[in-house]
């Protein structure tokens, strides 16, 4: 029986149709001011306020019943112990095992992989400390000063997002990221670098990704302009990160420079593995471990907290409520800190590549909505862009506001005018964050009584009733970022369990790669374009 035919689902549907779905958030708060206290959960350095959602105790009870009916607790356990939760590819999804180092309470396959994980982290630590100390030398003997990560998707977004978020930490090497297949990034970047002091990291789970390998070839050609000995070129200027030692060796990367992870680590869950190498270069192995620790705090919470007090569970269930019962099909990720610029892109991949699916685990087409369209932007900038649609458009949109309470990137009490101004700016950002979620929730009701008359115009009305979560981090640190990302990973899994889909495969991206190969053959090898449709043929003819 499809989940939307199940008793728990139907009960929620009835509840929603009984008037709950129509009720405005301003009325929820008017009737129950205490809800802000009740609908919040704090874990270590992370605080979630979910009271600005169109829920009450009855809704939560219904959602928890749905979770129980779907055996969510069982699924959580299966995930964390290493069952084959990725059934279409016949393997577990054990990103949590990467961050349970020293944790006594892992079991199953998750425990078996620990020695491998420790071995690779020890190898990574050695390389990281050598580079950070200026003792990793280029061909001429100068220390490496620039490290270029060549990777795409999961091999790019995580390290890019985290290193950008932790930008205030001083790093002894400069980090660069190249991902796009078209070569623009590579060509522009290489102009600014010197072969003597540049090291490339080839990060590719399969080590067959054409985007990455084509950029790597360009990098290699560039190095060959200066380096005669191929052994030196590879030994001093390339590090490989992959699940495929054979492919890395074939490409020429010596064993000492290979960092491994495993097929049980999904690409979009891989920044916790050696794919996080640039993160460790940025903040040191200690900082990298702090990030893993932060994630582990969330993992432990996910594994042990009762469902009703479980942050990823509650966030996942509320998304399900919004999508399937309130018919909201869009979600905005709104960090109020410019250091989190890449967080929306990171979550776009994490959430949409995981749950953007229409077939359940049994292979049947589902008859309910799954993953919403998710996008976002640094909040204060987005206010000048798409917030208009959030406030007055025709779409229901749910939002996650994410904000650090404190900033440690400047001195709070230094007495310097600049620092005082920065503190003011931080408070301005916080004020904007709180203001936006309040207006989205209340709409016109947020207008102060004294100003009501000036808003008396059909163009100045605010419907409100747009639900949101607010996640507050104590500050932006390796640890809190670890907690935050792990939270979204688990929340995404919770939704997949309700929707009965496998969040760990991504068959949808395969066909395009295959067709690209055919199209490429047509463009460069003069193969006939006859097999393509008329539109594509016309486009290709303009290139040939």
């Amino acid at each position: 029986m499809a989940v939307n035919q199940s008793a728990a689902w139907q009960a929620l549907k009835v509840l929603a149709e009984s008037g709950v779905a129509e009720k405005h958030l301003q009325d929820w708060f008017a009737a129950d001011p205490d809800r802000a206290k009740r609908y919040a959960i704090e874990l270590d350095e992370l605080y979630l306020d979910f009271s600005k959602n169109r829920i009450d105790d009855q809704v939560i009870a219904g959602l928890l019943a749905l979770a129980e009916q779907q055996d969510l607790s069982g699924w959580i356990k299966r995930l964390l112990t290493g069952d084959e939760v990725n059934d279409t590819e016949g393997r577990p999804a054990l990103h949590t095992a990467l961050r349970s180092l020293n944790a006594a309470n892992v079991s199953g396959f998750a425990a078996e992989v620990q020695p491998d994980v420790e071995f690779q982290f020890a190898k990574m630590a050695k390389i990281v400390s050598k580079i950070r100390a200026g003792h990793w030398r280029g061909y001429s003997g100068k220390p490496i000063t620039d490290v270029v990560n060549i990777g795409v998707g999961g091999s790019d977004l995580g390290p890019l997002m985290i290193t950008h978020a932790l930008q205030v930490q001083k790093s002894p090497v400069r980090l660069h990221f190249i991902s796009s297949i078209d070569g623009t990034q590579t060509s522009n970047l290489l102009k600014t670098l010197n072969q003597e002091t540049t090291l490339f990291v080839l990060a590719s789970k399969s080590f067959t990704t054409i985007d990455t390998l084509s950029n790597a070839e360009t990098a290699k050609d560039w190095l060959e302009e200066r380096i005669e000995r191929p052994q030196t070129l590879m030994a001093q200027h390339f590090i490989g990160v992959s699940t495929r030692p054979d492919k890395m060796a074939e490409w020429g990367i010596p064993e000492e420079n290979q960092l491994l992870f495993w097929d049980w680590v999904g690409g979009r869950y891989s920044m916790w593995s050696a794919i996080g190498f640039p993160i460790a270069l940025k903040v040191g192995m200690k900082g990298f471990y702090q990030m893993l620790d932060g994630a582990n705090v969330m993992d432990e919470h996910f594994a042990r907290a009762p469902l009703a007090q479980n942050i990823p569970v509650i966030m996942g269930l509320i998304d399900v409520w919004n999508i399937n019962f309130l018919n909201i099909q869009a979600k905005a990720i709104l960090p109020y800190d410019a250091r989190l610029k890449y967080l929306p892109s990171y979550f776009e991949q994490l959430v949409m590549e995981s749950n953007g699916k229409a077939v359940n685990r049994a292979g049947e087409k589902v008859s309910y909505k799954t993953c919403p369209i998710l996008w976002g932007e640094v909040g204060p900038n987005a206010q000048h862009a798409f917030y208009q649609l959030l406030h007055q458009g025709t779409q229901g949109v749910m939002s996650d506001f994410i904000v650090p309470v404190e900033r440690d990137d400047f001195e709070l009490h230094s007495g310097a005018e600049k620092d005082a101004s920065l503190l003011k700016q931080h408070h301005l950002a916080l004020a904007n964050c709180f203001a936006q979620s309040r207006v989205l929730m209340l709409g016109d009701a947020a207008i102060p009584e004294s100003l009501k008359s000036s808003f008396d115009s059909p163009f100045k009305h605010y419907a409100g009733n747009q639900p949101s979560n607010t996640i507050m981090l104590k500050n932006l640190s390796a640890k809190t970022l670890g907690m935050l990302v792990a939270l979204y990973e688990h929340k995404t899994y919770v939704e997949s369990v309700i929707w009965e889909i496998n969040p760990f495969d991504q068959w949808g991206v395969e066909l395009g790669k295959l067709i690209a190969k055919e199209a490429y053959a047509c463009l460069v090898d003069n193969e006939s374009v006859e097999s393509f449709d008329a539109s594509t043929q016309a486009l290709m003819k303009r290139v040939k």
């Binding site: 003792h135 061909y139 052994q231």
Partner: protein
Amino acid sequence: MKVAVYGCELTGLVTAGALAQVGNQVMALPVGFVKVEDLKAGVLPREEPGLDNMLAQQQAEGRLSFEADWEKGLAHAEVLIVATPSWRMDRAEALIELIGNKVRKDLVVVNQSTFPVGTADRFEAKLKLALAERGEVCNVAVVAMPDFLSEGSAINNFMRPDRIVLGSSSDSSIRLMRDLLRPFNRVTDQIKVMTTRAAEYTKYAVNALLATRISLVNELANNAEHFNIDFEEVRQGLGSDHRIGFNYLYPGCGFGGPSFAADVRSLVANLQSMGYDADLLKTVLSNNETQKEVLFRKAWRFFNNDLRGIKIGVWGLSFKPNTATVENAPSVKAIEAFCAQGAHIKAYDPKAMTDFAMHWQGAEQVELVDNMYAALDSVDALVIMTEWKRFWSPDYAQMKQLMNQPVIFDGRNIYDPEMIASQGFRYFGVGRGEEI
């Protein structure tokens, strides 16, 4: 004249000894960790040719005394000299405060320490304010007298100076200083009088210019290698141009020492804190750090980027000959680079091994040996970091017999490339020898 010298590092001790030698009554007072008992017993914080003898003699003849109590120095002095290390500004401040609170007579305060430009003016203002607050009418002035002493020849530098720079706006102070320094200013008048700020800046400017010259020469020499040129020939061509001259034209594996680079660095920092920049000097400093590894880079290429298990003999650790210190010395940085690649080091220095052992924090592969040939036992290459005289004409046969491979990386260009090659050595200098 009665003189008190505060600070018993190299500058203070040389100043005290030289002034005593010409008849002044000098009291020397330590400002840091140096102990009066040690000084009295002839245990000096830094080795310097001739210094121990001079101090012992002046003590014996009763013109030099060491004293811990700062107030006694103040009571003694007509001229009070501040000669603390540049990083002990706090002690100098404390001393100025003491003078301001206690002085009851006319006094000339001379600052020899390398402090940021403007310090002498600031000290003088501070003293004047303190005197005014006490209602004291005596005349206290501050004179800037930057020291131009080089380790290894410091006594000679003081007694037979190229020039003496005095910064002051007080004619009477300058008259007094001229009299004090008269014995060292005989042949021609070497005293240049200027404002205190100009005097202070001159000291920085001299070091900045010399550092820049060395770094530029190093860069020219490194690049001469790429054109297959022996830089020694170029050096002759350069030096004979009277606008350039021969001084400071030797390329090498970088400069070091406790104050040279530190002074340039502090000038850069000083300017930056005021919102200005010194791009060229920053480049000079970073170039020099890179140059300290020049021999490492040659060896790195010679051994095909794999130094694991390679044994390296090192001659010379001190930042220059005739000194026992390795502070900021190229040797420390080069040895660290070798060790990080898994090479093993056997090192010898005539004087600086104790100081090296104190500065060395890290890999255990460094073995210090007590004669120059022991450092060659079974090594794959010799690296020369300091041009001590005894390294200039070694026993080539013995060297070859001891070494695994007859390979020399010479950071001071002390051998003739053709001669040493004819002895059977592979020879790599800085801007000389084989290209690699």
